[in-house]
């Protein structure tokens, strides 16, 4: 795929990029001051606290040069909003630090801004400020998202308790298989997916959907929650470590899409990829057993399927029982940026 970022008319100058492409993303948010001020101003709704998250995406790590600019933009915002959803928070605004290795092409910028526009409409937030510069190194998009949550109601990571039921939203592994399909077409052909199934995996990688609709049910019922970005195995390990407990999960209960189930049937070694591949952007939640039924009902009412995959236990460490009933031995437990 051509690298559109370098092709066609270039846009030189920070002010030109800000005023032509970014200021429209700030329209309608008074505290952005049309991106003409140094700072953004956010007035939290009365009775709320602010939840903040920053997570950069970089070319060569989180996306590749040929990726559609709309998708890069969407993903840069979505991965941050996904964290807010897991905390039971609603996004308000975001700051964005953009770093280009060379002057970007007008067409690329225009599509990048379109992707952000689409994402922020979908997630209910606005660009409120940021920084644009040019420096050597990969194209980097560092978004800081700011959300609000009713005072004292943020869902933490570290408050799971032994006996809690473990839930995940949606289906796991799709994005990891989507990336594998992109990088290893030969292997993906052995899965014999239909075009629609292959497209499903692709879109799950390119366009993660933060589970904002689940925020209410999480605030209402969950002891602890986090979004899954580095794979279930690793992220569940983090939730357990933060909560001072252990977990046991059955692979057979992990919800899979039809596409993922078909790929797995053709290639059972994908088990590991599904639990450790990352990029799911689904929610992992620890819900007290006596609230599990209500959680499932409220999630369903919000349009988000959730599935119980195991239990929180006393102790430490994560066990995933494989399809054969034996604990899986994972050669890598998940994505580590180091």
């Amino acid at each position: 795929m051509a690298d559109d970022r370098k092709e066609g008319e270039k846009v030189y100058g920070e002010e030109a990029i800000i005023q032509r492409y970014l200021a429209p993303l700030a329209a309608g948010f008074p505290g952005a001051f049309g991106l003409q001020d140094d700072c953004a101003l956010i007035s939290p709704p009365p009775g709320t606290e602010l939840v903040l998250k920053t997570d950069p995406v970089a070319e060569g790590v989180h996306f590749v040069a040929g990726d559609a600019p709309e998708d890069i933009a969407w993903k840069a915002l979505a991965v941050n909003v996904s964290d807010l959803a897991a905390k039971g928070a609603q996004p308000i605004a975001y700051l964005m630090a953009l770093s280009f290795p060379e002057a970007p092409a007008a067409a690329w910028l225009s599509r990048f801004a379109e992707g952000l526009q689409e994402a922020q409409k979908c997630f209910g937030c606005h660009l409120a400020g940021g920084d644009t510069d040019r420096r050597p190194g990969p194209l980097t998009v560092t978004i800081t998202v700011i959300g609000s949550v009713e005072q004292g109601r943020m869902v933490p990571r570290g408050a799971a308790r032994a006996g809690d039921a473990l839930f995940v939203s949606g289906t796991l592994g799709d994005a990891a298989l989507g990336l594998l399909q992109h990088n290893d077409e030969a292997r993906a052909q052995s899965w014999a997916l239909t075009l629609a199934e292959a497209e499903h995996l692709r879109i799950r990688y390119a366009r993660p959907q933060p589970r904002l609709a689940l925020a209410g049910a999480l605030r209402q019922h969950a002891h602890a929650a986090m979004d899954l970005s580095d794979g279930l195995a690793k992220d569940l390990g983090r939730l357990c470590a933060a909560s001072g407990c252990a977990a046991r999960v059955r692979f057979a209960t992990i919800p899979l899409s039809e596409a993922a189930a078909k790929a797995l049937a053709a290639d059972p070694a994908l088990t590991e990829r599904i639990v450790a591949g990352g990029d799911d952007y689904e929610i992992l939640a620890a819900v007290p057993a006596d609230k599990a039924r209500a959680f499932v009902a409220d999630a369903a009412a919000a349009g988000v399927p959730v599935a119980e995959i195991g239990r929180v236990k006393a102790g430490s460490g994560v066990t995933i029982d494989g399809a054969d009933g034996l604990p899986m031995s994972l050669s890598r437990t998940g994505w580590d940026h180091f």
Copy 2:
């Protein structure tokens, strides 16, 4: 100077870096959750709004590989806090996205964390969250700082009016001359500075001091303000553009340190460097003429010297009258990251 970042025992793994070096910076801030959660939680003091700013610093652009890790850390936080000061806000917390091209050395990390510890104590804020990763490209420190300001009292950039007096805090040009001195020792020798004077310029570049003490006087008296990061000429142009007005400044009234005055006497071509060199991290404020005296008094009471350098006018554009009384023609108007 040796590149300490690559020397000695290395620290591998995101969790090790976070728990050993960064978590202590979050101690005492409950909303940081010991850096064990995905997100940070900030409870704005009642009756306040939040002011946010993000500004990355990167190796090769804002600092060089041999720079002291303490200084890099200090600067990364200070350049963001400086923006808050100009808005009349007080820092609460910051998020930090750290990106390393290779596993950093333990000694480097330890000194980097010390610099942050020193800076955050001085500025009154805590690390509340962030992200650490490894990827190709320069070492990058992207800080997002969050401050609070009494509701409706943020000092904007875009509300200067014709007739306002223009003030700057401290002295201008020191940091730009400090950088020049570092990069061009031969030229700096012609300035015949004492060791103390040379050190003054160096420290002004390495350790910018955000003018937080001026926040109250700005809220009380200023129509508009911003911090000077890209040079007076360019930043004043931005303040005027945002306010829909013009400005006229006399170079002779720009406050200079003894070191800068001596360098300028020896090398009159430094005039341009002083108004366009950047990295001042002083405050530029537009104050209504009838409040100018009170502003100076309140600033002095807060321990911050301010000097009137010109006036806001009707129209557009910035004129700086040079030492010879003629408008200066600037070959570059200031630092542009593009």
